[in-house]
Homo-oligomer: 377 residues x 2
């Protein structure tokens, strides 16, 4: 690795570093390559390539391997040429972020040529597919920008130091105003980085605020991997935020939302704590319907009972109760459908938003984009 | 992947997620496993294991692979058992952060079971080896904590949006004080994340400030991957920071330092701009000595001439000129040794600090730990 570092130092000083099969010191003419570099490729990685119709072309140099695949939910077998270079092209992919893995002779690994993201309980690789021309909602643009702060606090609930990401809107630093707060939770197998990295929360919020569509707010992205999320949020995370930021602390200035597992966290924490939250968002989620997969126990009926016992209070006090779903192809579709049936039966008001794409980040970005403008109005 | 997400959702709700060969829903009793989980393992990944004498044990399930290796600078061949499980134990590793890769049948990839870091121009995996008992300089502790902010700005020099990380010391938010700034650069094949993630800058600074050893300061970690670093720093990055933060803008309140490529950036930018910086730190670096590897051109003599022409001014005005080196095993050792010889010949004052460990992050953490207390006193 000593030689590798030396080569990198030299290449970096030349403004050229290389990944996979580029020759040191010899910048590659990319005009001979198909499409363009993937938007999440690390600096100067030429592959994967983004082709014009939103297909991705992968290329892995693996002369000693017997089988190379790309796992993008669907698995693609790459094809070997005489030099041991494996290539393959995917079907057109939907716009937005997708996890992927390389599979080298059956071993699922992360691709060093693409940015990594914590998802699927692993460090996964990511691809980003462009949105249609003119749809700039999820791209950085020349508007005032907020910042994302990484802070650490000791949680008495989980007994460890936890990391939390906080989006502060443009103007937060230069004003004396107090702000409302959206607490926004990731899904299972993800962590506090998900909304900031895969979700592009800061870009979405900057764009919505600049367009006058969302009220300037803080967005707190905490680690939801704790057996007692309700207690962690209420007794550790929220007090930490309210001690360290100029935020309003009344219930009408607090929203709670989350995707998948974070949606269940939102339901289980929000419903018994109407005195703390006036806005709830549940993305690609819903309580377990009976029977649960693997016969997992749950105490969902307890929450339905709370709703029944407090129907009027719930309908009066909750300013927004918003459910979203990534179409019938979303793995949580049935849970949400059954939950909506139960809510209708009890007489609980909610809004329902559906966008195609399944149980994926493109759907959750859309959810945030449509949910945030409803808050704190 | 639909099934994977569903399984993850379920597992996450049980407070158990799994990586590599754990059975869904069945928490593993780790007491039967050697050592403990690696400090940089993703949540619930049982391997790699940290053994008591700072060796790491790796385990990869790869029944279809013919060869599995770990690349930690030194390559280790793993051994296959009858079930296709490959295991291997490293030699004792030195405390601190190290990059590593899996090599599956000759393909260098990132390990999904460990955190990823941008280094070696790729997404690399990382291991963290514990420091000796009682040495808590690089661990989070119960002291006041600052925060690390991610911000974006448009660089007129590079013509793109750039990301910058800014450490703000404890008390920054609640005071009206202005602060001095250390601009701290990563090395070749790394980016603006290096000092924050691999380097643990916030933890080092929190601990130094709490101990009264360092003056509270901002630390700005910018992206040094630009052909014209000097212009980018002076006309884009610094003005952005000085517009957005309460910082002092006199030369005696600005320091510039960097590791490896960042050390050369520091020399090449600092020496012609003594009116802007009063402190320079050069970690594991030094101007190229003749002949350069691969016959790379450089204009180092230009800087020696500036030093010769301004020797007294340089010695008077530069409050700290600090060079550090990771021992003779550091790949930049000879460059630095030859540069020191030239500086001595000209009569330029500097301080030199050496710590064993080579061209690695443990050395650069030590460098920051020893350099920061010298600043702004």
């Amino acid at each position: 690795m000593k030689k590798l570092f030396l080569a990198l130092l030299i290449l970096a000083l030349h403004g050229v570093s290389s990944v996979v099969s580029a020759q040191p010191g010899r910048p590659v003419d990319e005009s001979s390559l198909p499409g363009k570099r993937g938007p999440l490729n690390v600096r100067n990685a030429r592959y994967p390539r983004l082709l014009p119709d939103n297909r991705m072309e992968f290329r892995v140099v693996a002369p000693e391997a017997s089988k190379v695949q790309i796992d993008l939910g669907k698995k693609y077998d790459l094809t070997r040429d005489d030099n041991g270079v494996w290539t393959g092209i995917t079907e057109p992919l939907t716009p937005g972020f997708h996890y992927y893995f390389l599979i080298i002779d059956g071993v699922q690994v992360a691709d060093p040529a693409s940015e990594s993201f914590y998802g699927c309980s692993m460090m996964s690789s990511g691809v980003e597919i462009p949105y249609p021309e003119g749809d700039n909602r999820f791209y950085i643009s020349d508007v005032p920008h907020g910042d994302v702060r990484m802070m650490r606090y000791f949680s008495t609930t989980s007994g460890d130091w936890r990391r939390v990401y906080i989006y502060c809107p443009p103007g937060y630093e230069s004003s004396d105003s107090t702000y409302p707060v959206l607490y926004l939770q990731h899904g299972g197998g993800e962590d506090e980085r998900g909304w900031s990295q895969q979700g592009r929360t800061d870009i979405i919020m900057d764009n919505l605020i600049a367009a006058g569509e969302a009220t300037p707010m803080l967005v707190v992205m905490a680690d939801g991997n704790t057996p007692d999320f309700e207690r962690e949020l209420l007794t550790d995370c929220i007090p930490f935020i309210e001690k360290n930021f100029r935020v309003r602390t009344d219930r009408e200035s607090r929203a709670l939302a989350g995707l998948s597992m974070g949606g269940i966290h939102t339901l289980n924490t929000g419903i018994p704590n109407l005195d703390k939250f006036a806005y709830l968002g549940v993305f690609s989620s819903g309580w377990w319907a009976n029977p649960t997969p693997f016969g997992m126990p749950h105490d969902t009926e307890k929450y339905y009972q709370i709703l029944k016992d407090n129907k009027d209070k719930f309908n009066n006090d909750l300013k927004v109760f918003w459910l979203s779903m990534g179409g019938p192809e979303d793995i949580a579709f049935d849970n949400c459908r059954i939950m909506r049936g139960r809510l209708d039966e009890i007489g609980i008001n909610y809004d329902y938003f559906e966008t195609p794409g399944g149980h994926t980040w493109p759907v959750w970005r859309e959810s945030l984009y449509h949910f945030a403008p409803l808050l704190f109005k």
